[in-house]
């Protein structure tokens, strides 16, 4: 019980503390890839600290929804950190709802953030909200199907169970179903975390933004929470990709040494995925907004193929 609680805290800590670094590294890498020196990987921490020291300016049009949303968003990410196998295969809240819960926890955050975008009554917020929910709604089927393809093999929708199963049968990882599901999930990750080619996290143009447009009104500590939650979302999605498809290193033992090794393995896998993400982001342009559904439809097709492959190859 106590070990479980400690592990839970550790997982939350790794996600919460590691997320800004991940974003920082990604930014630095992207800058280097285009020939700039770029910010230090530690920059997001400085940004967050600075934001905490700032006052908040809140639109007088807004309601309590606007003020509560950063907390709900953060909470949904923190809970997600307890649900998915970050370091150990059986995380503390792994039993609470499995894969389906995961999907709905992300939706919970999206729901409130989209409402907050509408709350100030500015066109930009509405624009961001409407685009964000469109992308989220269309990405949803792919998430569940891609993970379903994995669950089919494992005989469980418990994420930890999936990880253990793939760990036990390494050849599964080169299975076509597995690879297709990975591709589908990767595309969905790009969409859900607002990366190129779906959304441009570095853009300065209100009219093209998705995530940024929704948070245009936030300032001070609220902004810090929203940015932090966004970083955690990226961290969690990459961790899911890393651990579901390449589960090696994730331990089922709640002991210090395996957990430490698990952490090391995670760092390694995230480093590879982050580099991959940076390469993808620097080699593509942002899609025209209404090409995004086509991309998502493509990822959905991949996911369906992956499920079919499981049926046909069993």
């Amino acid at each position: 019980m106590i070990a479980g609680a400690a592990l839970g805290l550790l997982q939350v800590f790794v996600v919460a503390a590691g997320a800004p670094l991940l974003v920082g590294v990604l930014r630095t890498l992207k800058a280097r890839l285009v020939g700039r020196r770029g910010p230090s990987p530690w920059q997001p921490y400085a940004d967050l600290r600075k934001l905490l020291g700032k006052d908040a300016v809140v639109s007088e049009t807004t309601s309590w929804i606007f003020r509560v949303t950063p907390y709900v968003l953060t909470a949904s990410m923190l809970v997600t950190a307890l649900v998915i196998p970050v370091l150990v295969t059986r995380p503390p809240l792994g039993f609470a709802g499995n894969i389906v819960l995961l999907m709905y926890l992300f939706l919970l955050g999206t729901f409130f953030l989209a409402l907050a975008g509408l709350d100030a009554g500015s066109a930009f917020g509405g624009m961001g909200s409407s685009r964000e929910v469109a992308v989220a709604a269309l990405a949803e089927p792919t998430v569940i199907l891609a993970v379903f393809a994995l669950a089919l093999r494992a005989g469980t929708i418990n994420l930890g169970g999936v990880v253990e199963r793939v760990e036990a049968e390494p050849w599964l990882a080169v299975n076509p179903a597995h690879l297709l599901a990975f591709a589908a999930f990767f595309i969905v990750m790009l969409a859900e975390t607002g990366r190129l080619p779906v959304d441009n996290p570095a853009t300065h143009l209100e009219l093209t933004m998705i995530h940024e447009a929704m948070v245009l009104e936030y300032s001070g500590r609220y902004l810090a929470l929203v940015e932090w939650a966004a970083a955690m979302k990226l961290f969690l999605f990459l961790t899911l990709l890393a651990n579901l498809f390449f589960p090696w290193g994730v331990t089922h033992l709640a002991e210090p040494v395996p957990v430490a090794l698990g952490l090391l393995a995670l760092v390694g896998k995230l480093a590879v995925l982050t580099t991959l993400l940076a390469l993808v982001e620097t080699s593509v342009a942002k899609l025209r907004l209404f090409r995004v559904p086509e991309l998502l439809a493509g990822s959905f097709a991949l996911a369906i193929l992956s499920v079919m492959a499981v049926f046909l190859l069993r």
Binding site: L52, G53, A56, V57, V58, S59, E60, T61, S63, I65, Y71, S76, L78, V79, L93, F95, A96, G97, N98, M103, L105, L107, L108, T110, F111, A114, L115, L118, D119, A120, G121, A123, S129, S130, R131, V133, A134, A136, A137, L138, E140, P141, V143, I144, L145, F148, A151, T156, I157, N158, G161, E217, R221, L225, L289, F290, F300, M308, F311, L312
Partner: protein
Amino acid sequence: MARLGYALAAVLGLAAVGGGAAGMLGREWTLAVPWLVPLGGLELALDPLGGFFLALVGAAAVPASIYAIGAAGGAARGVGAYLVFVAAMCAVPLAANVMTFALAWELMSLASYFLVLHERERPESVQAAWAYAVMTHVGLACLLGGMLLLSAWTGSVRFADWRAGAPLLAAGARDLAFALLALGFAGKAGVIPLHIWLPLAHPAAPSHVSALMSGVMIKLGVYGLMRAGVDWLGGGPAWWGTALLLAGVVSAVVGVLYALVEHDLKRLLAFHSIENVGIILMGLGAGMLYRQAGLGGLALLGLVAALYHTANHAAFKGLLFLAAGAVVHATGTRDVERLGGLIKRMPWTAACFLVGAAAISALPPLNGFVSEWLTFVALLQNTQIAAPPLNLVFALGIAGLALTSGLAMACFVKAFGITFLALPRSDAAAGAREAGPAMRAGMALLVAACVALGLGPTVVLPRLAAVAAPLAGAGAPARPALGDWLTVQLSGDFASLSPLAIAAALTLGLAAPLVALRLAGASRRRRLYETWGCGRMLQTARMEYTATAFANPFKRVFDFFYRPAKRLDIEFHPESRLFVERIEYANPTRSIFEDWLYRPVLAGLHAAARSVRPIQSGSANLYLAYILVALIVLLVFA
């Protein structure tokens, strides 16, 4: 006087809850008065399935009636019909023979028909009532047709005898009976494409009636499907389940797609009822498929998911209709484009609507999440059926359900965001006042139900399992192992659920950043200033996102479905097209079902009607009378 009537309805509801609960717990009860009605007499019977639906009717009637006490404000119009409506709905799940059922069913339809006609001064209401009457009676004709066939083949009008007689029938006969009954019940449930009346009728009625119509009346269609498909006819071959599952997917996706582009608040909710019936049918269809495959445990899971979602939908849809009714009451409009900013003027209603919106969007830890989770888990285990085509159907169901929940979330962001947030878009919205105490009490009861059903699956599930167990067929455990008080454990290690743990974790998660901010010494000052407007002055409602705009991305993505008809009218200066004097733009969507199904059918009917002009008076009520007479004649001759 009217208040007394609604209070009476509430008491009736309470009694129904008590009776229904007793039935669910296994108390059997019958009442037969052979002389009261011709053709078999009045016969009522209580069993677990009937008990569940009786309790559901009662549980929905209580808050709706309390709300009505406030909403009707003493106006007597409709109270009688309302009482009849509630009583008839209580009788439907208890009916034990054809005549009793037909009476209760028709009474329910007639009472609701008059309630739909509540504002009979408005032409839309009359039109809605007409469509409703026609569809209801076409459905009733199907139902009676199926029932008469069954009566003829089994030689009894008592439902109890059918249960024993059905297995002896030829497969083709069973298929025909099922098809007729399923059509009739699906029409009542609002399954696509028989939904056409639903978005017209539900919004036209007063909101407490809408709540009941959406919350429970259409569920009696689901009841019928369960009763007929599984109880009487024993689940049937795989195509029954497949058909229901696919009808569920289509209803869910199409329902939510229509809801997305709707900006009449109550119509939007009505379309969501279609969506949710679809989700229920997915569970039911999966249950029937598993039953057919001999997987009793999974069949039980599917049926339980359907029942759970039935109860949940009654709670959150009732809540949403009541809250929407409060909005209409306060502003006089159902058009979302004329609302806005109500969260500041109607904080209680807004909070209630938000809970309902979160619940229907299946956000954890509220009740919608639990039943959608159950449905997912039921669908996901299809690998145990080794038939690739069926697996594909299930995969479609999974994808459809995921898409539906995403779209529903989007739609309720729109519904809540545009209605309640930002600035009011009309004077009516700007002058809105909070609903009265009775209305708030009605809503609060349903909020409590949403929360309780969300947090309590470990308590609720065993009860529902007991209701569904007799229907699940061979191999269904009488008392399935469902885990402990904290966690629902399904199919061994396949899946587990604990809303309590989620709720606790979310609470901690909410507290954590608060504490962290305090520890980090974050600034706690907050300054109010205008919305950032790029340095421009004057923020007006004209600059806010509208519901139409919010749905625009979907309109573009699904344009093959909506088939939007863009129209741009520009008036130019007579001498130069470069000076524009007026621009008007419209981009309405079109309904595939109306254009491609109903319009041709209606055209045919009109042609036929022209030849029988002499008996045609144009009064909807008279048509009703014709239909009734025809049915009774049919019955008598059977």
